[in-house]
């Protein structure tokens, strides 16, 4: 079946602009994760959903970052008043208890804040 998809693949924003990044997980996957990956680094955990419930948001770097998954499927990561330090690749992953906790990643959204 289809894998995890993310859109847009690339986003250029002016400092102070709001952005919204979308993640479509694999159908039926109850768990959804967002990560931030800076250049040359490993992904860093941002937040975790189980269905529509956001169970862990401890990795969100500031209150400018907000994530939602209102119907337990598609998720949106929103960044308000973007700053240059927000420039990174934002990765989404999903998993299912039927497959252990194997995480399947999307291609990422590369965000550049000018």
């Amino acid at each position: 079946g289809a894998g995890v998809s993310q859109s847009p693949r690339y986003k250029v924003a002016k400092r102070g602009q709001d952005v919204a990044l979308r993640c479509d997980p694999i159908s039926g996957h109850v768990s959804l994760f967002w990560y931030q990956q800076a250049l040359g680094q490993g992904p860093e955990f941002l937040t975790y959903f189980q269905n529509e419930a956001q169970l862990d948001k401890s990795g969100l770097p500031s209150d400018r970052f907000f994530a939602e998954r209102p119907e337990g499927s598609v998720s949106t990561l929103k960044i308000q008043r973007t700053q240059q330090e927000d420039s990174a690749v934002y990765l989404c992953a999903s998993s299912s208890p039927k497959q252990g906790k194997t995480q399947y990643f999307g291609p990422g959204t590369r965000l550049l804040v000018l």
Binding site: G42, K101, T102, P107
Partner: protein, 110 residues
């Protein structure tokens, strides 16, 4: 917080060579996964291996949870193996929050 250390940070191999990548972690873990990030940025899950040994073709992995390390073996390397290899761990007392190491960047030359 937990430390996840990968070694070596960089590795250059001639095609056909074997290699071992290491992941050390500082706390007890519930889950450990190995990933390959290709040059286009796509992360592919290689192994879900909280303990024991698994093999998949030319790749195999071993996790010794009691000693807090995992090894990824690549045999008969191919140029398509190039990219960055990450391990990621989930703590026993903090489910569903995964910590990634900084990766091993592998370059396989023809």
């Amino acid at each position: 917080g937990i430390q996840v250390e990968q070694s070596p940070p960089d590795l250059i191999l001639q095609e056909g060579a074997n290699s071992t990548l290491r992941c050390n972690f500082s706390d007890s873990v519930n889950n450990l996964q190995w990933f390959h990030q290709n040059p286009w940025g796509q992360l592919i899950n290689l192994f879900y291996i909280p303990s024991g040994t698994k093999q998949n073709g030319r790749l195999s992995a071993t996790t010794v949870a009691t000693e807090r390390y995992s090894l990824l073996y690549i045999s008969s390397s191919q140029t398509t193996d190039s990219g960055v290899y990450f391990c990621a761990v989930e703590l026993v007392d903090n489910f569903n929050k995964f910590y990634f190491g900084s990766g091993t960047k592998l370059n396989v030359k023809p």
